[in-house]
């Protein structure tokens, strides 16, 4: 008996090249990927067809730094359907300066097995701003 084959056209998002992929698959597995330049295209096709994933980047509040928001990201890709909940979850967090690239904001966010981490260094500015204020007033 012949299995049902589906053919789908995708654009690979693994790198800026954006190869046009033609993916042939059954409900269980990928049969063939055409159009990819490298093997990341095949991995992308597999995940995109069966369980699409994305890296999520957003910001969280930070106190005591020069600016009030610090950028964060999921350390790895997470299931696409969790994206919105991750953003919502992150919007409730407030960090305290100093923060460093790689600091964990939320461990194992929404049980995805992936950490939400800081992507920018921000030092504490309290002392400096006090100094500046003093200078201005004198």
């Amino acid at each position: 008996m012949k299995r049902k084959l589906t053919i789908k056209n995708l654009t690979c998002i693994a790198c800026p090249m954006g190869c046009d992929l033609e993916v042939t698959y059954t409900p269980e597995k990928i049969i063939e990927v055409k159009g990819n330049t490298c093997k990341r295209g095949i991995t992308y096709a597999e995940t995109e067809i069966f369980h699409p994933e994305r890296v999520v980047t957003t910001t969280v509040r930070v106190k005591g730094a020069r600016i009030e928001f610090v950028p964060v990201k999921t350390e790895k890709t997470i299931p696409k359907k969790l994206t919105h909940s991750v953003i919502k979850h992150a919007s409730g967090v407030t960090l305290k300066a100093p923060v460093k690239v790689g600091d964990i904001v939320i461990k194992n966010i929404l049980n995805s097995g992936v950490n939400l981490i800081v992507t920018r260094n921000l030092v504490c500015v309290n002392q400096k701003s006090k100094k500046r204020k003093r200078k201005k007033s004198s």
Binding site: T11, I13, P16, T59, P71, T119, R120, N121
Partner: protein, 423 residues
């Protein structure tokens, strides 16, 4: 921040502490130039990368996918280890060419007005966005019409939402990235409108920023009118004909409270012009020779102020090349060999640099006039072909960068062109 240590003269002064300025300064240092000053207008180094919080940077450079700030922090760290601390909150307001040296006039909160003498100036000021005035959209002038990059700064650095119902004009990468970002933050992005028949940004961004959220992309459409009194209320959208004029049929309106413009970037060269640097009418960046030196000896240019790049990885690469060449200029160890012109041929919109050196290596950047399929890119001298490669697809939105190992000693000129391939 190093205001107290400000010096009167340096070997090299780098204007801008974004990815280009930092990479150029590092290359100078690694080539043995010690006395370097980097000045930065903003209050922190990193440039525009600091507001580009999405991932996708560094695949070429670091073989991993970083966010903008992560990419910048790596360069800021490396610079700090080499004792390169950019002088922030400092604007360069003038460059005076004294022949062998240049004087750069700086203005900052901390040091006030200062004149610094330098042997070499590296222009690394980056670019700015085209705005409503540049593209002349008819209609009233309400609040809520801003560039995509400004919206990015508001959202990512200051936590401010530019609008709730958004239309984006132009499908450049920043516009696409902001479509996703604002959707994630709860705004409704109603449409992206693009005047060209093809998207301006990368395909991957069409997929992950528009298709993921079912945001419609109207190609060959434009905005013909903006209405609204205090705040923008509506945009009028029309398909365009082959002459880019709006058609009379197929028009529609979208209600919105914010219109983002993602309609291209222009190198920021006002300062360069003051110094007498000649600009290229197509790139709007400096005309540079084999060493990325401008027509003013001792003034170099790299990064987005030279040509608008798609990938920061290439900005770093170009800036490193520039830093090394500038170091050689300071030390008087420039490569020998006459410089010969590089011409843009069939289907090539521009090619950079404008000259290459006989007997030396070269890295040629170019963009195509329009999208095409199955073409060869050919680089040849008056007598021999130096490079040929077949491309299945080319887009003007993708810059091609081709290294040439050696320009032959006898070459009179180099030409870069596309040629259709038979299937």
């Amino acid at each position: 921040m190093v205001g107290s240590k400000i010096v009167k003269s340096v070997d090299a002064l780098v204007i801008g502490a974004g990815p280009a300025g930092l990479a150029a300064a590092l290359a100078l240092k690694n080539s043995g130039i010690k006395n370097i000053l980097v000045v930065e207008r903003e209050s922190a180094p990193g440039g525009i990368l600091m507001q580009c919080i999405h991932n996708g940077f560094g695949l070429h450079r670091f073989k991993e996918e970083l966010t903008g700030p992560e990419y910048a922090e790596r360069y800021i760290d490396s610079a700090r280890k080499e004792d390169i601390i950019p002088l922030t909150n400092t604007a360069a307001i003038d460059i005076i060419d004294n022949g062998k040296t240049k004087t750069v006039v700086l203005l900052s909160e901390e040091i006030g007005l200062a004149s610094i003498k330098t042997k070499v100036v590296i222009l690394a000021m980056g670019c700015r966005e085209r705005n409503r005035g540049n593209i002349a959209i008819p209609g009233s002038r309400p609040a809520g019409v801003i560039t995509a990059g400004l919206a990015q700064k508001m959202t990512n650095l200051h936590g401010l939402l530019p609008g709730k119902k958004i239309v984006i004009l132009g499908s450049g990468d920043i516009g696409l990235i902001m479509a996703r970002r604002l959707t994630w933050e709860g705004s409704k992005v109603k449409a992206v409108v693009e005047v060209q028949p093809h998207p301006g940004g990368l395909n991957r961004n069409i997929v992950q920023c528009l298709n993921d959220f079912n945001i419609p992309l109207y190609l060959s459409h434009t905005i013909t009118n903006i209405t609204g009194d205090k705040r923008i209320r509506k945009v009028h959208i029309a398909p365009i004909d082959t002459h880019f004029d709006p058609k009379k049929t197929g028009n529609f309106t979208l209600s919105c409270d914010c219109l983002l413009l993602s309609v291209g970037l222009i190198p920021e060269n006002e300062l360069s012009l003051k110094a007498g640097v000649t600009l290229d009418p197509i790139t709007r960046g400096a005309v540079v020779g084999a060493d990325l030196m401008t027509n003013v000896p001792g003034i170099f240019s790299c990064g987005n102020v030279l040509q608008v790049h798609d990938l920061v990885d290439f900005v770093s690469e170009e800036a490193e090349y520039c830093g090394k060449a500038a170091a050689a200029y300071i030390k008087g160890t420039c490569k020998k060999g006459a410089q010969i012109p590089v011409k843009a041929g069939n289907l090539v919109r521009y090619v950079l640099p404008s000259k290459v050196r006989r007997g030396a290596e070269a890295l040629i950047s170019l963009r195509s006039m329009g999208p095409s399929k199955n073409v060869s890119i050919i680089i040849k001298t008056d007598t021999e072909v130096l490079y040929k490669a077949i491309h299945k697809k080319i887009f003007p939105s993708i810059m091609l960068r081709i290294p040439i190992k050696q320009i032959p000693a006898g070459a009179k000129h180099v030409e870069v062109f596309f040629e259709a391939e038979e299937k």
